[in-house]
């Protein structure tokens, strides 16, 4: 029987002899992840399950990133309890100032390799598909079960193969590719499926760009968004990890539920207008929309690639007097590299705020939430009503070129208005 990539990964992590979409199986985890929100709820559930110790401390990792630095006393207590639990269980803990936003961090730190299964108490665990891993988001009770038993129940998903054809014009990034996919299949189009990204346009993407694509697979309802591992993956993992892995891909005659073709040559930078990631329009159609804030960061687009793009726009320019620009390097190591490259200086010179790595305002937690009537352009992944603060605020999702250009112009513009030509 030919198999899809996701079926091969799941087959290697289950006792079932063969699997097909719709089957319910138990799947073994290579890594179990939670954070300061999902973790403490899961720990209580794990206790009630009657499990005292985690199944394997080597396979469990916790990251403090949502309410960090603590926004109030209650969050501080939550962060404290997370840290104490990790100490008592002997599991890896990335504390404040020692890590960053979980999904960027775990890739950077070598936790994620192709062909593995990563259960995360965060919906954007699908980001790990960028490295060919079945990373998938689960709730706290699922995570409690994973912590206790090292496995979770899973309905075997079908596969929607997405073929990125052609080459990207300037200013087209991973963000635009995934927004094009969501526009095509809809915000629930990937339910009970994984997305699999192939084609010359997929292979040409750097890992940072792939992270941006896979990150928003869940915004199409999908369980993860897989890039088959290739030479780019191997080069990224070199020196980051000692975990063994092999490159797998779907068999030639594997059954796909659907095949979607996205032509890149004619693509404009895209924005998702309020209040849905599926409300996608070309940046030209949003031209002139006045904004109050720009937020460049989060687990989708706080990479060095994003910061470099933003710096290229902001170098020698000023953030519009009416606008706040908040820039959030996703991890400490990205922050330091940005510092070495002089990017942080560019941001500060332009009048932007540089935030410590945190999920911060992306989920409306703190560090830059929006007032009623305010409008923001962000490189984040959700623009639901009220997501970043007031229900009367509006969020436009876009790539870092577009976001930085909006910061300077005070309104949404095509980045070509500032930069005649850049490397794609």
């Amino acid at each position: 029987m030919p198999h899809t990539l996701v079926e091969k990964i799941l087959l290697a992590h289950t006792d079932a002899a063969d699997i097909a979409p719709g089957d319910i199986i138990m799947v073994r985890c290579d890594v179990v992840l939670a954070n300061d929100i999902s973790g403490p709820v899961a720990f209580r559930a794990m206790e009630r399950m009657g499990a005292r110790r985690v199944f394997d401390p080597q396979k469990v990792v916790m990251v403090a990133d949502h309410f960090t630095p603590a926004k109030d006393a209650m969050s501080a207590a939550l962060l404290r309890s997370l840290e104490e639990w990790c100490e008592s269980q002997g599991v890896t803990f990335y504390g404040q100032g020692r890590g960053g936003i979980e999904h960027t961090l775990l890739c950077e730190e070598g936790w994620v390799v192709p062909g593995t299964v990563i259960a995360g108490g965060d919906s954007h665990t699908c980001t790990y598909g960028a490295l060919g891993a079945f990373g998938t988001g689960l709730g706290s009770t699922d995570i409690a079960f994973c912590l206790a038993f090292g496995e979770f129940w899973q309905v075997v998903p079908g596969t929607i193969q997405v073929v990125f054809e052609g080459t990207r014009p300037p200013f087209i990034t991973g963000k635009d590719l995934i927004l094009a996919v969501i526009a095509h299949i809809g915000v629930a189009g990937g339910t009970n499926h994984v997305l699999e990204f192939v084609g010359a346009g997929a292979e040409s993407l750097s890992i940072d760009e792939r992270l941006a694509v896979s990150n928003m697979a869940v915004e199409a309802g999908a369980e993860t968004g897989l890039f088959p591992a290739d030479a780019t993956t191997a080069a990224y993992l070199q020196g980051r990890t000692t975990r063994p892995w092999v490159a797998e891909r779907s068999d030639p005659h594997a059954q796909f539920a659907q095949r979607v073709r996205i032509a890149l040559d004619a693509l404009s930078p895209l924005v998702a207008a309020p209040h849905s990631p599926g409300n996608v329009i070309p940046v030209e159609d949003a031209r002139g929309v006045r904004i109050d804030q720009v937020y460049i960061g989060n687990c989708a687009n706080g990479t060095l690639t994003d910061l470099r793009q933003a710096a290229e726009v902001l170098r020698g320019r000023r953030v519009h007097p009416r606008v706040r620009a908040i820039i959030v390097p996703a991890t400490s190591s990205i922050y330091r590299q940005a510092l070495r490259e002089g990017l942080i200086d560019v941001f500060l010179e332009a009048g932007a705020i540089v935030s410590p790595p945190t999920c911060g305002a992306c989920f409306g937690g703190h560090m830059g939430v929006l007032a009623a009537g305010e409008r923001a352009v962000t490189t984040t992944n959700r623009n639901f009503r009220g997501r970043m603060g007031s229900p009367e605020a509006e969020v436009y999702l876009a790539n870092a070129w577009v976001a930085a250009s909006a910061a300077v112009a005070g309104e949404i513009v095509h980045p070509a208005e500032f930069l005649a030509e850049v490397r794609a």
Partner: protein, 164 residues
Amino acid sequence: MIFEGTALLIARDNVDTDVLYPGPYLNIVDPQQMKWYLFEGLDPSLRDRLREDTILVVGENFGAGSSREHVPLAMKAWGIRCLVGKSFARIFYRNCINLGLLAVPCREAVDAARDGSRLRIDTDAGVIEVDGRVFRMPSLPPFLLDIITCGGLEAWARRRLTTG
């Protein structure tokens, strides 16, 4: 199993977990405290309309977005035991099952229901009655029914630990 109750309609599609339970309240760990923020970003007055036998009747892709289990935990804290929807987002659906909260996808039943409709769900017979009209519901896989019957994944896990 049989669930009977009164419909409370949330007749919109793609209702996300951010509006069902906004981010600022995610630092709460006690479901009895969580319940005061359920529906906060959607329509807080829905909380006042919850009754002991409320069955939530919802649209397409209900519970999209964040994996926050605070949403079904808060529903459970209000005493909700069942949802009927046109369709559910994957993580939200898992969370419901894991908490022993029955979530039934059935478009015809949702279309037939009004606020205050009487609903009766019979998982053994595979039917939903809406004000006396009978609709077939997709059969729940035995594995998921087992979790629900146990009262959720916690109890299911306890059984697994004690029986080895």
